[in-house]
Symmetry: C2
Subunit: 408 residues, 2 copies
Amino acid sequence: MKNIIVGQSGGPTAVINSSIAGVYKKAKELGYEHVYGMVHGIEGFLNEDIIDLDDYLNDDNNYELLKRTPSAFLGSCRYKLPKIEGNEETYEKIFNILEKWEIDCLLYTGGNDSMDTIKMLSDYAASHNKPQKFMGVPKTIDNDLPITDHCPGYGSAAKYIATSLKEIIRDNASFGKSRLTVCIVEIMGRHAGWLTAAASLAKDETCEGVDAIYLPETTFDLNKFLDNIKEMAKTKSSIVIAVSEGIQTSDGKFVCELGSDDRAVDAFGHKQLSGCAATLANIVQKETGLKTRAIEFSTLQRAATHLASLTDINEAEAVGMKAVEAATNGQTGMMITLERTNNNPYECTTNIYDIHNIANVEKKVPIEWINLETNQMTDEFLKYARPLIQGELTPIFKDGVPVHLIRK
Amino acid sequence: MKNIIVGQSGGPTAVINSSIAGVYKKAKELGYEHVYGMVHGIEGFLNEDIIDLDDYLNDDNNYELLKRTPSAFLGSCRYKLPKIEGNEETYEKIFNILEKWEIDCLLYTGGNDSMDTIKMLSDYAASHNKPQKFMGVPKTIDNDLPITDHCPGYGSAAKYIATSLKEIIRDNASFGKSRLTVCIVEIMGRHAGWLTAAASLAKDETCEGVDAIYLPETTFDLNKFLDNIKEMAKTKSSIVIAVSEGIQTSDGKFVCELGSDDRAVDAFGHKQLSGCAATLANIVQKETGLKTRAIEFSTLQRAATHLASLTDINEAEAVGMKAVEAATNGQTGMMITLERTNNNPYECTTNIYDIHNIANVEKKVPIEWINLETNQMTDEFLKYARPLIQGELTPIFKDGVPVHLIRK
């Protein structure tokens, strides 16, 4: 037991760095000599772009700052490992680097695509009799990893979405019935509507909530959507609607494509979506004559660490710590999961699960958590999601803005 | 001296309600019997849609909540009073309502267009020998009112912009040079670039800052803009650019119109602008082949009370208090101004100024505060703006989201 390395992969979250903090803390506690970080994930690792976390975190102030730093402190990547067969040289290179740096365990924070990396590396180790351990640390605002109750990163994005929507709803209501505006807010989530569903958390005693929510789990019916708006416009002085970027009509067309078909595709073959809210705002304006506004939370929903959920930060730290512990105990090819042991009061613990049953599987919002009209969430969803956005970790402000920790 | 009334007009800000709080506090202190609020400004007042603020603010908790509530608590309007000549019946109606409700002073928070309302009412009072006093309370995220050093509302919007840009910059840098993304962020401000200039506040020891800033005060040169990006793309691993919604090319075309000309016009004849960042992101992608992303802060920049500047909140409260004091002392047809008496340490006091020299005049960013390349702010701007974003007023969270005060 000598050294350990951790990397970050995929789209960042507001709390991905808290998992790095947890890894560092537990690894030091367990006596690892060096806790290394890959710069830009496995892609950087292949170029031996590696830093020693002691250079940053051997200081309590920096440790606290790291937990308040958005995006991937180590740098992320979207590098997909090739399949083992026919690409053995890539894997040999990785294991050579591991041996050269005397690294016993490799931990990787990420979502679906990143868990695939851990699966491949642990498969290669098993078939080539390599001693190194590989462990996945869940991270995704999308909340679409299976088995785990929820994913670190989701709670903070949900808190940002709920808070911002409360503010947008107040703003949109400011002019009253005489200047009714239909505000359509676009939220991330290609196939799973967890983030968009979090819009329902805006509703409370001091907020009427969003007027409709459309998830990719159900078919989007443009006519029903327009009829609903026309009906609401008769009495309401503000209409705010949350839509997932991935909603599709019954013919399988993305709503954002109703306006244009010129879309790029990312490294994993996902269609690059955007402009769903803008497309709908245009249609509503033309079909109803009402004033409309389109808002996209864009990367803010994953980067707004200043509004992170303390529950989420603590859990992100805990899964990092658990990954070190499990790998040190000889576990490999596993992902850390969160298990909710009680909901009221909320209690959650960490566990481990075979990564072969996790990688490349997407967990969607259960259809029974969506109402029959397919435009609001049920109480079951609220009971599930509300505990995840509890608590705050106040940013450390300097000169009026939050301070972050950055690589030199 | 019996009753006083306050109304809110124009686009809301994160701290417009702190001015209402200040009005209430000072009016009660000075012994006014009723402190009334117009629901939806002068438009609601004409329908006698009036509430008694005692019903809400006679409770310290609610007073604190009001200061943490975004948008216009009383409801806003965009109602322009007609010119006096030929429209005397409108003015007679207003003064009849004032007499009926025994209102001695009318205070109005707003920007340029709203100050015009105070001017008209005080002119009518002067020419018709009416005793009521009229006072303007400055409020605008745009910071474009003359005479006053700055406007309440600006500091909080600037703090939101600087903080969000720091988070966006970190996010945009997460994938490194191999996946360089040009992120173009659109910020409000039709003719005055104060808000966009606030993007420069993102730069500090832990943030490299935005790579370019384009204000409406200078002509936007598309070719220079593209050349600058191509040059930066050779070395940088992230490019983030802030643009004002109102930037125009040398032929006087709004950049957002380079994509389309189908634009609506608001009640004051302003062109409705949007999509400048999206237009530029498309052009950059086509001309350079680089991956691009467009982000619009939209109404979040004026509604994000959870990130308000404490300096701004205190000053918004102070101008409300000063307005009551001045009107009670017999002043009328004036606007409260903020006077910076010292910059280091920052000290600011309130004053009053003849509204005839304020209404309908727009204050722009001094051209000498923009660098010669017209794509960054100088230190002079930073010295001006940095004090305005200092301090925080932590939101009161309940169930994971900030609580607001709303009208029943």
